[in-house]
Amino acid sequence: MARLSSRGVRLHKKGLELLQPEPRVVKIAKDYFHIHTYGGFTPFFAGLLKKKLMATRCANRACKEKRLFLPPRPHCPDCLLPMKWVAAPLEGTIYTHTTILYPGAPFKLTTPCPLISVELPGVCTRMMSYLKRGTPYIGMKVRAVFNTAKPTHSILDLAFEPVEPA
């Protein structure tokens, strides 16, 4: 069941390794996955593959919020009635930005990575995304671009790039 690792401590196949004898410290390996549902958000993620930015609008005429929500919501946060799916405009402006140099462990993009919050006309929220090329600044005009070639089926399938040509 156990074998000696190159450092002379016992390495167990089940993934426990002695790192330090005093105080006793062991290393526990983990390798598993989650099965995660996008549930009612599915139209948004399906939309990315069709190069569409699917948002939601409250269908309740009495509700005061007439603007679009992006990130979308299956239920209106104000009246709690189901919302309607609508394609949002693909062009907007950068509301704020930062460039990540030291991301957390599972980060799949390359660094430095310009992170942006985007303001889109008619949308009451400011979605987080990243800028695929160029140097971001507040007020920069940007357009949504979609990764449909090798989709990750995550929010990384959406990015923005400057409206001006490179």
């Binding site: 526990i28 929500f69 704020t96 140099l101 462990a105």
Partner: protein, 452 residues
């Protein structure tokens, strides 16, 4: 847009007064393999019961406990579900009732709120509030990923797996709107790393210059490593009691006159604009022409909400006038500037003046984070809000030196008291506040403590 209904802004009331009778801490370290979480919690409990001049010993105190509140942020980090049950057993408090509170970075503040509710309602007379976090089982990059699991996993976490980046987005917007100089942000980091030099509990004591902070490596622009909180392992305990119980336990009880909470969207993205919720001292005309989004990305509605309730509950008219010291949740330099405004220390857009004027420093008008805060001393998340209130509690008792200056305390944690040690006891401190804060402002509690 949020519109308040007539009952939404009801000022909370305690059915009977709540007192703090003791506080206890461990030291805080990046890695703490010498001790399990149970040992850390026991150590903090021992300090609370045995070193706060209580009129009873451990055995007698435990015989008076009715209920316990546990405070841990992330099961991910400790890799142990129902960890509070182990702590409760380790402290020998079975079969008394308990629960564990979770509100992200504000977990400590929320746990004290829960304990206060138990005492104030008459459910219990003596409630230990026990917080800890063990953040050292994984490498730092994985730790950052665990913390970013407290962003939205559908729409945000993949974008960086890094909370500093989410705050950096707010920082850039804040600077665009209000032009806070980088030097002012850096001064907060210099101040809190310096005050950490006078705390035996601190993890990141440093004597820095503004230039050193500004030339430090950038995590996510504009924030440098020295402007971000530490990731810690350690524990903190507070003992809450009813009035009668408090006087049976100590000659120096401090009243918890208010602790209130506010919330806002997990994703900064989802914030919608609304009119500024004004504090008691802010006249209507102050924000009638406010040119920026509110709360936008520059302000924390949750902090404003908690402050609105807590200041009204505690009878605070102007926090700068009525408070003698303050502990903020300085997770990042930018969030500290934002919080000064949400707390009403300066009007929106002018938070920088609180630092630039010198008011935030020891012997200033409202000394802030004399504990060293999250940047200099600790952010063992579940312990943080409790640590902050313990530090304010000792200041109001006039016992800051007892818990910071004793060379034996420094030796206990394997440290040497510095030669240039400074006494940071605030003279004649009567009233103090502490802010516990989660996410990009998802949960906030504001506590007000008062010496009677």
């Amino acid at each position: 847009m949020i519109e308040f209904g007539p009952e939404n802004l009801r000022i909370p009331k305690f059915a009977r007064p709540v007192y703090i009778v003791a506080g206890g801490l461990t030291d805080f370290r990046k890695r703490y393999p010498e001790k399990t979480s149970e040992e850390l919690v026991a150590e903090a409990m021992n300090m609370a019961v045995l070193e706060n001049d209580l009129l009873v010993g451990m055995e007698e105190l435990k015989r008076r406990v009715n209920f316990c509140v546990y405070s841990q942020f992330a099961d991910h980090f400790g890799d142990q579900l129902l960890a509070a049950t182990k702590m409760h057993d380790a402290l020998g408090l079975d079969p008394l009732g308990n629960f564990e509170i979770k509100t992200g970075g504000a977990t400590g503040g929320s746990a004290v709120l829960a304990g206060a509710m138990a005492v104030a309602s008459g459910y219990a007379d003596l409630v230990p509030v026990i917080g800890w976090e063990r953040m050292d089982e994984v490498p730092t990059r994985q730790g950052n990923a665990y913390i970013a699991s407290a962003a939205c996993k559908n729409f945000e976490s993949e974008l960086g797996w890094m909370y500093a980046s989410y705050y950096a987005l707010m920082a850039q917007r804040y600077q665009h709107e209000h032009k806070v100089p980088r030097e002012t942000l850096a001064r907060i980091a210099v101040k809190n790393h310096l005050y950490a030099c006078f705390s035996p509990y601190s993890q990141s004591p440093m004597r820095l210059t503004v230039k050193e902070v500004l030339s430090n490596a950038i995590v996510s622009d504009p924030l440098s490593f020295l402007e971000c909180c530490v990731m810690s392992t350690g524990a903190a305990v507070l003992l809450l009691a009813s009035e009668e119980m408090a006087h049976r336990l100590t000659r120096f009880p401090i009243k918890l006159t208010a602790i209130c909470s506010g919330t806002h969207t997990l994703r900064t993205a989802d914030r919608r604009n609304m009119p500024v919720l004004r504090l008691p001292h802010e006249p209507e005309e102050l924000y009638s022409q406010y040119p920026h989004d509110w709360p936008g990305f520059s302000s924390f509605l949750a902090t404003r909400m908690a402050a609105y309730l807590a200041f009204n509950m505690a009878g605070i008219r102007d926090p700068l006038e009525d408070l003698d010291l303050l502990e903020t949740h300085d997770a990042f330099t930018i969030s500290d500037i934002q919080s000064y405004e949400d707390l009403g220390l300066r009007p929106y857009g002018r938070g920088r003046e609180f630092i630039e004027s010198g008011e935030a420093y020891y012997e200033g008008r409202l000394p802030t984070n004399l504990s060293g805060g999250l940047i200099g001393t600790m952010h063992a998340v579940g312990a943080t809000g409790i640590f902050q209130i313990a530090e304010v509690f000792w200041q109001l008792q006039g016992k800051w030196a007892q818990f910071h200056a004793d060379p034996k305390l420094w030796r206990r944690f394997g440290k040497k008291k510095p030669r240039d040690f400074r006494d940071l006891q605030v003279k004649n401190a009567r009233r103090g506040a502490a802010v516990s804060h989660a996410g990009t402002g998802s949960h906030v509690t504001v506590a007000v403590l008062e010496k009677e």
